[in-house]
Symmetry: C3
């Protein structure tokens, strides 16, 4: 089902703005509710301005005999993003100056944009340069670049509290698979699963899902809602590069020890899959903006093979052959494990602190000592650890770490002990009670 | 001499309560003074209650022809601990339901107890189950389980101060060697050596030695003396599993950086013997209670091969063939190294802080430079390090760590420098003067 | 040029005091300005006293037939340092008691001194002991040991601020190469290069260069100027053992995390040369005094093969064959890299903290996205990291560490961003703004 959706979205021409973005959001909106908001060209947002809206009808280059040498209909990447309209006859020299290629990948059409400087140009496979032998060429870019709107998509699930988990992905790259369609697709299916989880057992956190054009989109959203995010978001993730490669890369939030980081690394450390942790840096995607100094949101990014680390990056070779339904699904599952761990996570306080409580009295203990099944021992360990370390400082993930299990696996046992009056939720008045700071 | 004592204690039937405990304490009391205190059944201690006292005269199972199939006299472990009295004829089916075995260790009699749920049963070697072919059996457990007392043994050495080092071991397991007789034996011989050390040169610390039934005993003692321990104890150790295996396992106190942990790891790191450090957890022995939240005593546990990590654990195969006089003695010696390091440990302050003092002026330096014996150099290093790092923050162990020696080895040099007026003891008003927190 | 200077200095007899020290300082003073200060014998400095001045005219041992067996003119090390004058006929027994050798290095003349206990003696190659077969010997030490002065050399470069970088080396060892002539030589050529750097582009820091006899000299200087150093010095290095071996050893300042340590380790970690870090200890050179508790100056020591770690240490075998112009020059270069990094180092604050600034607007960005040269990418990374991490907490070295470059390499880019108004220097009112404490 993810790949079906991929196949519908792949051919659409997306950019910072334009109808391709709107159509893509509409298609994703068939799976989960996505509200589209429009922001006018020229609107200021911090150091930036919303650009003109760009839409392309057609674009081509023809040789002297009328033969079409490059056609935008063949591949969106043939046209430099945000090319201004043009209708002209140009010399071979001028055309070649505007033809972008990748000599190191002669079969790839490169992905080139010129959002903020007026320009036009085309991109072709390097091996095709030999075909451009004519002296003159007819060039047409039938496009509009004029005042219009920038579109942001947003989904929201109201949980039992107003504390929020933020998911953000970008939707501005035409016809590439790892970067970027894997991102919006994984985010959308996480969103879908959470709607179902809410029906099944309720959600403690509220969830916000953003679909923005990269950089300008997150900056624009922050300029409108940054203070709200600062006040509400407990953890967040930029979803990108989610469909390729055997291992995970987790890029930490700027804080480096946020709840987002703790939960992601807690789940990854038990995932059985290789993973790597990288520090936050200003090279990457929208976590750059969410982590900018004034906001410093707890937003990391869980990826598989990330941008810049595969040779097909930002070319036509980043296509469906590189991603798989299986990898996308597994990434959805890992994000859900993180969410379920965040949902389960609590700081508890033990009601019996003078020696251990006598468990059989409270109905939670097998009474003949010395002989226990593996399952009874596992359960007894969970109970003992929860009682011993629930001191208003350790959260469920901390206790799970000590046991070598995932936080969400302690959920049921913690509920049982709470029901039996052995644990209570910390009310914040315990000394130094804070998630993520203890081990 | 340790093994002689072992041989007298091994056959005695011990449990949470009963005359076997009293007799065992009496035998250990021939080596060191041990006071026995009695606590009545039904007495409340935190979430627990002192159980009834259990004593066994005889217990057996006979077949139809009067042949004895199981006899408590053959091995204490044949009887489930705290079995209620019974005198009955039972079917094969009922008997088998009450026969406990270890299919994975067919030659071992398992150790099973039912302290807090009324029950009776027997334990046999798994390979013997085939012998139970009769339809009916005569079962006799001639025991008493009635109001009586729980017995705690306690020794004490008064030192020059009231600051205390606590040793605690448990004495409730019948006829097993590693777990548990190695514990009370090692503790008793440490106690004996300390009495001699006190005669020889005095002791700075006072020492308390507890012999309790596991769990209920330490909880009971804490309910009576917990606040006193909290006020006085600077370091403590639960002595158990002290006689088997080539390497040490040190389980830290709950605090993880207590003086007990620092001294034990300091000594182990220089012991030349492999060792492993494990964090405090609520799985183990009485450090679970001493480390419970309300007390959080600085009590760790220095073991050799620990409980749960050898296959003979809690069976009749945990016998004298697994332990050795040599291993027991070496563990005694290691505990004494820790104690001597604690006795030597001080935070000093240098009286010369503006450049180095001129050592020859103070009579502690070989005066011809450039040529020194190895021993002179070693001594000069000790002097230099003690003078340089005695700043009211580093204790003797910290200085020894920097030199790569054991704290107790600096004792004499520190005394010399104190005598010569080059060092003085910190009086606690120095900034941030605290043991164990600096490096 | 360094080796020329070495060859002039090597034959001079140096000690704690005397004309050899003055002559050596005069020779170094031909390269850089060095002021000589004289301190009278008997002057008190903390626990120490300035010793008498020692000068030697001649010293020899002759056999019965008038044959000269030992002559000070052959090698300064033949005479025990600070030997009292003597003119006597001595028995073989007495002479042998005063002949110092190194049985482990039979071809080496050992270096022996007796500064603070009146004594006389000679040092010879161990293999030569067999030559001393006569019954009696004529011994002459034509020397003066009387009230005079101790000489300290000092250089100074006034920078734009009064914050200081301290270099200190010792000049009291006669005729040895690694320990010590490599030290004064490297310090002097660093000093020379800094005078040129000041002419070329100015210096932010002021620089102080000390040439002292070891131990007594630094203690004496501290007794006169210690409080001033405490108030002004931001970083310092004891320059010694700077000419031998393939790798560096950096001995940290007592603080362990001072600016001196940070800059040295920052540069070494990118040097491509193997290096080792050792903690401060009271065994070594004058960093012992600079790091004494009352001063605790941020003074480390960057060495190549250090004292005590080569077999020729403190013997006549520590000669020019062990050092090389190349190694000396490279050490000068490494010290200069450290200095240039300290000069470049600043804590900046970004002027755009709400999302990233739009770089092209500020004229610092290539405008066609997607295709950049390696150099453009490198520059863009520097810009992005400087903007993102300039938060009043990270200094230039911290940002450079994140980028994997050396601090001085960011200097130009940081200046550009400051010029463009994107960065400003922290004024110290930012929260927790302090060099060396963040990562």
């Amino acid at each position: 089902m993810i790949m079906e959706c991929f196949n519908r979205l792949f051919p659409i021409n997306r950019s910072l703005t334009g109808d391709g973005v709107r159509e893509s959001l509409r298609i994703l909106g068939e799976i989960v509710p996505i509200r589209q908001s429009e922001y006018p060209s020229g609107m200021d947002c911090f150091d930036w301005t919303v650009p003109k809206e760009w839409n392309v009808r057609s674009a081509w280059v023809k040789g002297r005999d009328g033969r079409t040498l490059i056609d935008f209909r063949d591949h969106n990447l043939h046209l430099v993003g945000y090319s201004v309209p043009v209708r002209a006859t140009v010399s071979r020299e001028e055309l070649l100056a505007r033809l972008h290629t990748r000599p190191d990948l002669p079969d790839a059409i490169p992905y080139v944009t010129s959002y903020y400087k007026e320009y036009w140009g085309f991109c072709v496979q390097h091996r095709r340069l030999a075909e451009f032998t004519d002296d003159e060429y007819e060039v047409v870019i039938d496009a509009t670049l004029e005042d219009g709107h920038l579109t942001i998509g947003e989904g929201f699930i109201q949980g039992e509290t107003d504390r929020e988990i933020l998911f953000s992905t970008y939707l501005c790259h035409p016809s590439m698979a790892i970067n970027e369609l894997s991102g919006p697709l994984v985010q959308t299916f996480v969103y879908k699963e959470l709607l179902e989880l809410k029906k099944r057992r309720g959600l403690k956190y509220s969830y916000r899902f953003l679909y923005v054009p990269e950089t300008i989109g997150s900056i624009l959203y922050l300029s409108q809602h940054g203070e709200e995010l600062k006040a509400k978001v407990d953890a967040g993730y930029v979803v990108t590069c989610a469909g390729h490669g055997p291992s995970y890369t987790y890029k930490k939030s700027r804080r480096g020890d946020s709840l987002a980081d703790k939960a992601a690394l807690h789940v990854l450390s038990r995932s059985g899959r290789p993973y790597r942790t990288v520090e936050w840096s200003p090279v990457g995607s929208d976590e750059r903006q969410y982590g900018s100094q004034a906001f410093n949101l707890p937003v990391g990014s869980l990826m598989r093979t990330p941008y810049l680390e595969y040779k097909e990056y930002h070319t036509s070779m980043d296509n469906e052959s590189l991603i798989s339904e299986e990898a996308l699904q597994e990434t959805v599952r890992t994000y859900l494990d993180i969410v379920e761990t965040l949902e389960a996570n609590e700081i508890y306080v033990s009601n019996h602190t003078h020696g251990e409580p006598k468990l059989d009295k409270h109905g939670v203990y097998p009474t003949i000592g010395g002989q226990r099944t593996e399952e009874q021992r596992r359960r007894l360990f969970m109970i003992s650890y929860l009682l011993a370390f629930s001191d208003g400082k350790h959260d469920l993930m901390d206790v799970a770490d000590k046991l070598g299990v995932v936080g969400k696996d302690l959920w049921e046992t913690a509920k049982l002990l709470e029901d039996k009056g052995l644990l209570r939720k910390a009310n914040g008045t315990e000394p130094a009670a804070a998630a993520g700071t203890f081990n």
